[in-house]
Symmetry: C2
Subunit: 526 residues, 2 copies
């Protein structure tokens, strides 16, 4: 396949005429070929017009047709072959096994949504049959289904060039819901984006769908990004990135004449709670496991464990000694972009320069200017609670250990935390009582609670929640990973006394689609 530096607007490919962007080879910091022309307001307009024109047709495709399309997208991504991996390696600095794994995840995600579309439970069909004899007033026939919101603007993420980008979870779930998608490709990996974009474009064509089902633009956040979110034909936004970026989109979306939902997955420090009995029995092992999670992918995960809470004592010293040793064996790693590396270094130096924070350990020294070094810091619970800056995410392999005088203080620190994607409890049987006190505190501010694991590694499945209260996401009522992500792009419509000939298949008598439906509130397949 070609990387031509072109945007994809419906069935066409064209070179943007706005200021071009170039990928930077992550390992060397050198600009790569080709240049990718940026999109203009006219390109945004054209992509949105096509998406809007495609919407009514696309949203009424049969589950089978839509599932086949998602599977065709998956196959087309695989068919790109190794060029996708090598380009993504160059643009992101991520190693081959990670990107091969991420491709598998991306393809698996599209296939999971295909399966979910076929399953149809997400349609949430409900029927309240008419009660013509009811007194004092008869009840009309009422039927409800969920329908898609409309075209969705998807923003590619820097840290997952495949799984959270052009053909990633937001795109897959929006397409599954029946929403056309306009992607703003992330400027850090335009070549990878073009390859995946062309794969999806070819799937749209081979499946005979309206061209506007998918478009992909390059360009600046101001022109293309804000332009998409402000466009009246865009009805929802999917975003993975920084808190500043996400909240800017939230503001734009809320200020529209018609405000729209923004699903921005933004920032999280993913606290890890080390309970006393667990520490007594395996502090060293926890320290080692923790560092493995901390340094994975140069720490460039939204679920990176950026905060550790433990009770003072010899067990904590053991944990820190073990973590220090493990970090000593952790090589510096190429980071995704110069901007991310620089923000990471700034974050680390703020911690290092804070006189209430002590640096505990470092990873190995960088051997290139594009690499980030892992770092572990500590402070006391009192200092942490006193200084909100210490709870800010440092995106990369840095973490802060909070020394607590007792478990009650751990609970107090937990109560003071902002919304998070995850929280982790390391515990043993003997910690149950304390964990029971901690659990409701975490449920109120976290999307996923793990026991005796580490937060990195987000399964793509039905029961996954990759979400959480603000500011971990813009909308804590949702998940951006797993089959429930489809629900973000749906809304209910009720049909009252509608003749059979006009009713959507999902709601017709005799259940022609074989859906789970609630009839008078009772779930069944009738």
């Amino acid at each position: 396949m070609t990387i031509a530096g072109e945007m994809l607007i419906g069935a066409t490919a064209l070179r943007g005429t706005d200021k071009p962007i170039r990928a930077i080879e992550a390992a060397t910091g050198q600009p790569m070929e080709p240049a990718f022309g940026g999109g203009t307001p006219a390109d945004v307009d054209r992509a949105c017009a096509l998406a809007w024109a495609a919407f009514d047709t696309y949203r009424e495709t049969t589950p089978e047709a839509r599932a086949a399309f998602l599977e065709a997208c998956a196959q087309a991504i695989l068919d790109i072959g190794d060029e996708l991996i090598t380009r993504a390696m160059a643009e992101s600095g991520l190693p081959r096994p990670r990107l091969e794994g991420e491709r598998g995840r991306t393809v698996g995600q599209l296939r999971l949504f295909a399966q979910e579309v076929r399953d149809g439970t997400w349609i949430s069909a409900r029927i309240d049959p008419a009660l013509p004899q009811r007194a004092p007033l008869p009840r009309p026939d009422l039927r409800m289904r969920l329908i898609p919101l409309g075209p969705v603007a998807v923003f590619g993420a820097s840290n997952f060039p495949l799984a959270f980008s052009v053909g990633g979870g937001d795109t897959a779930s929006a397409l599954a819901a029946g929403c056309p998608v306009v992607v703003k490709a992330h400027s850090a990996h335009p070549g990878t984006s073009e390859l995946v974009g062309r794969a999806i474009q070819s799937a749209v064509k081979s499946c005979g769908l309206p061209e506007g089902v998918f478009s992909m633009l390059f360009g600046s956040g101001q022109v293309v990004g804000q332009g998409l979110v402000a466009d009246p034909r865009i009805k929802a936004v999917g975003f993975t990135g920084s808190r500043a970026g996400g909240t800017a989109l939230m503001k734009t979306a809320a200020a529209r004449p018609e405000p729209i939902p923004v699903y921005a997955e933004m920032s999280s420090i993913n606290p890890v709670f080390l309970m006393p009995k667990a520490m007594a029995s395996r502090a060293a092992a926890i320290g080692k496991g923790f560092v493995g999670s901390l340094t994975l992918g140069a720490g460039q995960f939204c679920t990176n464990p950026g905060l550790v809470l433990a009770v003072e004592g010899p067990e904590l010293d053991t944990f820190l000694a073990s973590a220090t040793e493990a970090l000593g064996g952790a090589p510096a790693q190429t980071m995704l972009t110069p901007g991310i590396l620089s923000a990471y270094q700034t974050g680390v130096s703020h911690l290092a320069g804070n006189n209430r924070v002590r640096k505990v350990a470092s990873g190995q020294i960088a051997t290139a200017s594009t690499q980030g070094e892992a770092a572990l810091f500590e402070t006391t619970a009192a200092h942490f609670m006193d200084d909100p800056a210490l709870a800010e995410e440092v995106f990369g392999a840095a973490s802060l250990v909070i020394r607590c005088p007792d478990v009650e203080t751990m609970l107090r620190v937990a109560e003071g935390l902002e919304g998070q994607l995850t929280a982790t409890i390391q515990m043993e049987e003997g910690d149950l009582e304390m964990a029971r006190l901690l659990l409701p505190v975490l449920e109120r501010r976290v999307g996923r609670i793990l026991v005796n694991g580490y937060p990195t590694g987000v399964e793509v499945s039905h029961a996954m929640v990759h979400g959480g209260p603000f500011p971990s996401t813009a909308d804590g009522r949702s998940t951006s990973v797993g089959s429930l992500a489809i629900a973000r792009f749906l809304r209910p419509v009720c049909y009252q006394d509608m003749p059979e000939a006009l009713l959507p298949a999902a709601l017709r008598d005799g259940n022609p689609m074989g859906l789970w439906r609630r009839i008078d509130g009772v779930l069944g397949k009738e």
Copy 2:
């Protein structure tokens, strides 16, 4: 029961110390006894603190306990007896049969949510069992449920002193979800509010629940209303009222350090499409039925049919003649408040003063200064599309007929409409083809589509949608009526590798609650 002019904060009743409000007897315009002292910021703080303190306990009550509480609320409201009806009649000017019916609706709504809580489908339990042998990485055990968002601020509505107020749909659905509720009572019916509030307060006590599960404050929108929405312990808002009021709350909620969802049901003109064959066969009957819906409850319904679209011709003349005759028999009716009457009169005089609008007919002349007269206007499609002010809601029994040269123009007008709660199609078999073109246009901008009915009358059931895209509501992904309203106050939480002893009952092995759950995506009762 006593109407003491007191607010209810947890288990206590107290007189507010801020500027008092008084009910105005709707029929006479005279102030009523007693005075209701307004709440202060300290009262808001106390109510929110109690709600927050109650949240963890209340949200983990068993379905049976929570359902029994909702049923106790229903019974306690019935137990108030006729005093509730007479007070509501005086405060709202609504007639006895309407208020008795509304009480039935309110009680039925609480009971429907009790049934829904017991059913448990809303918990949306999902389990993806561990796959320890999976290569290259094992899958952890993942379990998801929906949990309540937290304390909810509910704003009583002027036009439904019972069904959309203190013990109305927002309160019922929030309590059903497991959220404590703090109500800001509507100043138009404080006595009715206090009676219902005391009923709920007594149910909290008799069910042995934490007192903070329910509080109710009087006072100004600025101090109490905005204060509640800005309070960090409030996690969602339910509101029924004006577009100005709703959007003000949306702004406050979006500007919080932690933005929260606002479910504001705001404004809708509920277009009615009169299709040619239906008009050919029964224009006169449609005119009469339409006026019945238009004048019901002095037109003070969010679903009032404020816009009628029809094709020019003799059938339309027949419709208008019939509507004119019916309106001539429609007495002027007492309106809810002096403010609503005055806004209605302003809206009507704007229409009357617009030189592109013609007054077609009026209801009977008012016999008291507190009454509103029904009014029917007409204009052309071209004028309507040219003047956005003509699409603004006039809350009351006024409607505007749009003369369209053809059905295609009706479609074009429909495409230009803002989000609506409802749309209605009057049609016959021969209109099917045209209706098929209209349907997708309506689906995109409406929450409920009716055929051959009238939009007033909103069934409380499982398949109802009382919602719609902005500005009909603040959040078109939801309904404020029917059992799905519970979903507004829930968010998903995932538990990874959590020991059985810590798992919530809904997610335990063996399905002790007997819930519908998705195991590896497959719905069943295992």
